[in-house]
């Protein structure tokens, strides 16, 4: 039973302390959502876990492996995939190339499974399957987000870090994407750490909620409880 254990994590962003002693546990097979206002440190948290930012102190462990401050390339190989915010795809690559990029490092040991993984991910997002040869730059926002997620999924992660997948997307598309993730999580036991601005949508689908404010964990509860807590919402999320 592997879990993501974040312990007393401190990360600086320039002169600002973006993460000021963050601790929580994301259980295996569950969707844990990290919510909070802008600037609370949510993105920095994901970036520190995936190795893009260096932690000043504290530890991150996934399963039994300490992945604190490892290089991103190694963390990916430990089964952690990060979809950064802003549908990060390479616009001049085709849809297929963007997906293949995510599986490159597995090609050597397991090329047949790579093919299977690619076709699975295209089954999950049929709209991408239709546009396999198109350049990623010509896709709509929602399709690009699906593509970014596909790139991460094709590495067969056990932990998926999702940074604001709903950003700039229409509610219907967001719903579609979130449901695909939910379905994937329930059927394969994928652990998901979901950062979201849209607390309602996130808490509706998550098992566990972590509320961040100014780099600190303010609340850590089952999602349903957090969702019902209107005082918390008003104080930290402004609605």
């Amino acid at each position: 039973m592997s879990a993501l254990i974040v312990n007393d994590l401190v990360t600086n962003y320039g002169h600002v302390r973006a993460l000021d002693g963050v601790s929580f546990v994301a259980n295996s097979g569950e969707i844990t959502t990290v919510i909070g206002a802008n600037g609370a440190g949510k993105s920095t948290l994901l970036r520190t876990i995936s190795g893009l930012e260096k932690a000043k102190s504290g530890t991150i462990s996934w399963g039994d492996v300490d992945i604190t401050n490892l290089a991103p390339e190694e963390i990916v190989r430990s089964g952690v995939a990060h979809v950064p915010e802003g549908h990060a795809v390479i616009p001049t690559f085709s849809v297929l190339e963007n997906i293949e990029m995510g599986a490159l490092f597995r090609r050597r040991e397991n090329s047949s499974d790579v093919k299977v993984a690619i076709s699975e991910v295209l089954d999950l997002f049929p709209r991408l399957a239709e546009r396999v040869k198109q350049s990623a730059g010509s896709l709509s926002g929602g399709e690009r987000q699906m593509l970014a997620i596909s790139r991460a999924l094709v590495s067969r992660p056990q932990l998926l870090l999702l940074d604001e997948p709903s950003l700039g997307l229409a509610p219907l598309v967001v719903e579609q994407i979130i449901q695909s993730i939910n379905q994937l999580c329930r059927s394969t036991g994928l652990t998901v750490l979901l950062v979201e601005q849209n607390a309602n949508t996130a808490l509706a689908v998550a098992d566990h909620g972590v509320l961040l404010a100014l780099g600190k964990v303010v609340s850590d509860q089952p999602a349903a409880t957090m969702r019902a807590d209107s005082a918390l919402r008003t104080a930290y999320l402004g609605y």
Binding site: S50, M101, L104, F105
Partner: protein
């Protein structure tokens, strides 16, 4: 008419060589964010190595292969020993202004060192360099044809290399990884691609491309520590004209410059070549700074 055709063919052959050199510059620019002014210095150095192998009795082809291998090794060494440490340094306020140009200045330092080393090892006197096939114009029954076997060789070799590189970058995993690392290093790292390894590979490929260009052009320029300086200028102009971000642009730019210089030399006067190059460079930067095939994005200095 024959003069015109031979001018065109010489121009194309030279243009192919310039395309190769320009491509080397573009590969390092895309893969590492550096305009490597030392590239043709590296090529000069490896051509000297080849020249010494030949004069001590080895075959041209052995020297050819050694030059290419040492070219890629030299490129890798420059990345590992100089460029990577440079990239890791934190910048103080005084150096922030220079941040983008520090690698350029470093490459100029490397160029100076390579040229001085070549002088120390092999002296500054000019020496010739052989061609593997005849460089005299073909003779048929009626007279001479406007091209030589060497012209064909050059065009053939460069074409093969270009096709090979094109296949490598578009159809292989490593090629895809290199392109990804160049276009979006962050997403590439998150995909498990070892970006710094890809960067070193860019230097290696570019080093080999430069060395090949050196081997092909030195028969006409002769060999001395400074013999390839002008080729650097032409390659740089070709890359800028074609678009520093575009490999295809580098090839097109190289051909434009090759044929253009050939025409100016034959129908104008050789002294005007530099003026023509300068004019072309200024015109491109004024009219279309991103080059013919360059993207529309803001150019990062």
């Amino acid at each position: 008419m024959n003069t015109f055709i031979s001018t065109l063919i010489t121009g194309t052959a030279n243009g192919a060589i310039f395309a190769l050199a320009a491509l080397g510059l573009v590969i390092v620019w895309r893969g590492a964010g550096v305009v490597n002014f030392a590239q043709m210095g590296q090529a000069m150095f490896t051509t000297y190595i080849a020249s010494n192998l030949i004069t001590s009795g080895n075959s041209y082809w052995l020297a050819f292969i050694v030059a290419l291998i040492s070219g890629s090794l030299l490129g890798m060494v420059i990345d590992l020993l100089i460029m990577r440490p440079l990239a890791h340094k934190k910048s103080s306020s005084a150096t922030k202004t220079l941040a983008a140009t520090i690698p350029v200045i470093a490459s100029l330092g490397i160029l100076t060192i390579l040229q001085a080393l070549a002088g120390v090892f092999w002296a500054g006197e000019e020496r010739g360099f052989p061609t593997p096939v005849n460089s005299f114009y073909f003779k048929n029954g009626a007279g001479t044809l406007p091209f030589s076997a060497f012209n064909l060789f050059v065009i053939g070799v460069v074409l093969t290399v270009l096709l090979g590189l094109s296949y490598f970058f578009t159809q292989t995993g490593v090629g895809l990884g290199m392109r990804a690392a160049a276009l979006n290093p962050e997403v590439a790292r998150l995909s498990g691609i070892k970006v710094s390894r890809m960067r070193t590979l860019s230097w290696a490929i570019s080093g080999a491309a430069g060395s090949l260009a050196g081997l092909l052009i030195t028969p006409s320029t002769n060999l001395s520590p400074n013999s390839l300086d002008l080729i650097l200028i032409v390659a740089f102009t070709a890359a800028v004209v074609g678009g520093l971000d575009s490999p295809l642009g580098a090839v097109i730019g190289g051909l434009i410059l090759g044929i253009g210089i050939s025409l100016v030399t034959t129908y104008g006067s050789p002294e005007n070549v530099f003026l023509a190059i300068l004019f072309l460079l200024l015109a491109v930067q004024l009219i279309r700074p991103n080059g013919i095939l360059g993207g529309k994005q803001v150019r990062r200095g």
